[in-house]
Symmetry: C2
Subunit: 254 residues, 2 copies
């Protein structure tokens, strides 16, 4: 399926996680804030490039982006609207919430390298189980930038121990979509007490011969919004990404 | 020599290009603008990552940076001060020009990968000839961001034809310090009429069996300042870099 076809389905109201959708195309996290907060957010991303690799930034009020020909207000499968850091709505479009001063950031998403993982024979459990990827707030704090600070958020994929090195090697080549894992093994070291209770998304099965492998996650800016409480923000619903018009090979380091 | 020792010499007044200095340490371009211009400049960098890979951004008025323990006002070997885009002073320190609202950007510099080039047996002519690297404005325009736009600036190193592939391969692994070349061969295609008359730095000899190889250059933000004319800016004197406390391997992609 092409990004355009997927976006048309989402625009029509389909609400599903996008992992496994549109093989070969880059997926992105969305975070949009009023222009007055945009410098601090862009600086937060610059200072935390592992969770917040910026792929594109719109002009204030723009509803598409250079990498995303669709409508940012309708063409993602789900959105969260924040006021003063509180989620006030979860919706399938944000037409009624969009503002002329909103600057939208597209941030790299690890779904982008899942094709490469599967090509290398590394299983992707949440796709196998037809669930959303599990995501967790960690005890690692991001570098602050102006008003924005907060915890690193990670996604987790269980990987057979014999294939952990492959998972590292393959994903390291995609630094713009979170790159190599930030942690492998014991979740307690990240302050995660129970893998079965993710902060975002769904739990997945971890088998006896597998290690949980954690990648930085583009939900991190939304966690920062919840901590830092700017007056207004719009994010994608975690796991329900913007499917862009950029090929995933564009972000592959040779 | 350590970065700290080099900075002490520059602080004492030594004015020399820094190519070949402090093997193993990352060098950086400086561009500092008042806070009111900082968002547009950070966005300009995000939209033009090849010439403007941002390594660090200070808080307004700060005189050191997380990657640079020295004093940004004194510890580079040379500076250029701009008012409304015009160079109004070339100095060995900017103590008298610094302002409390200045945000300083450290941008990756291709001097950082010159050790790796030489380790691979690729000659670096301006070091051999004890000159500054030649830099040129090109006919390629950067993506605009707010008030900032302007031409791509490149540095040039002549490379024996048999070693051009090595030069590409080695430098591609350092995307944060400009990465792979942007052009190889005929300078006219970049709008450069005469290699012997660089816009910044010194000309170097290009031999019969060599091709000129062009890398994106961190003087690009200064070229944008000259075109876009913000009320005030401070840059390093081209080739006279900030020598940081970051190891060059930090920016090496595996």
């Amino acid at each position: 399926m092409s990004p355009e076809q997927a976006r048309a389905l989402f625009r029509a109201g389909l609400r599903v996680p996008t992992s496994g959708w549109c093989a070969g195309w880059t997926q992105a996290n969305l975070i949009a804030v009023p222009r007055e907060h945009a410098y601090d957010l862009l600086l937060f991303a610059q200072r935390n490039p592992k969770p917040c690799p910026v792929l594109d930034v719109t002009e204030p009020g723009e509803t598409s982006a250079s990498l995303f020909a669709g409508d940012l207000r309708t063409d993602l499968p789900g959105y969260v609207v924040y006021e003063h850091g509180e989620p006030v709505a979860e919706t399938s479009d944000v037409i009624g919430y969009w503002r002329d001063d909103l600057v939208a950031f597209l941030i790299g998403c690890s779904f982008t390298f899942e094709d490469a993982l599967r090509d290398a024979g590394v299983p992707v459990r949440h796709i196998e189980q037809n669930r959303n990827v599990p995501m967790y707030r960690t005890n690692r704090m991001c570098r602050r930038a102006g008003e924005f600070g907060g915890p690193l958020v990670v996604s987790m994929r269980p990987v057979p121990t014999a294939q952990v090195a492959d998972a590292v090697r393959v994903t390291a080549r995609y630094p713009a979509v979170h790159g190599a894992p930030v942690h492998i093994g014991d979740p307690v070291e990240l302050g995660i007490d129970d893998l079965d209770r993710p902060d975002f998304g769904d739990p997945v099965d971890v088998r006896l011969d597998e290690l949980p492998v954690f990648w930085a996650c583009g939900v991190t800016p939304q966690a920062a919004v919840m901590v830092s409480r700017p007056k207004f923000a719009i994010g994608h619903a975690p796991g329900h990404m913007a499917i862009t018009d950029a090929r995933d090979t564009r972000f592959l380091v040779p």
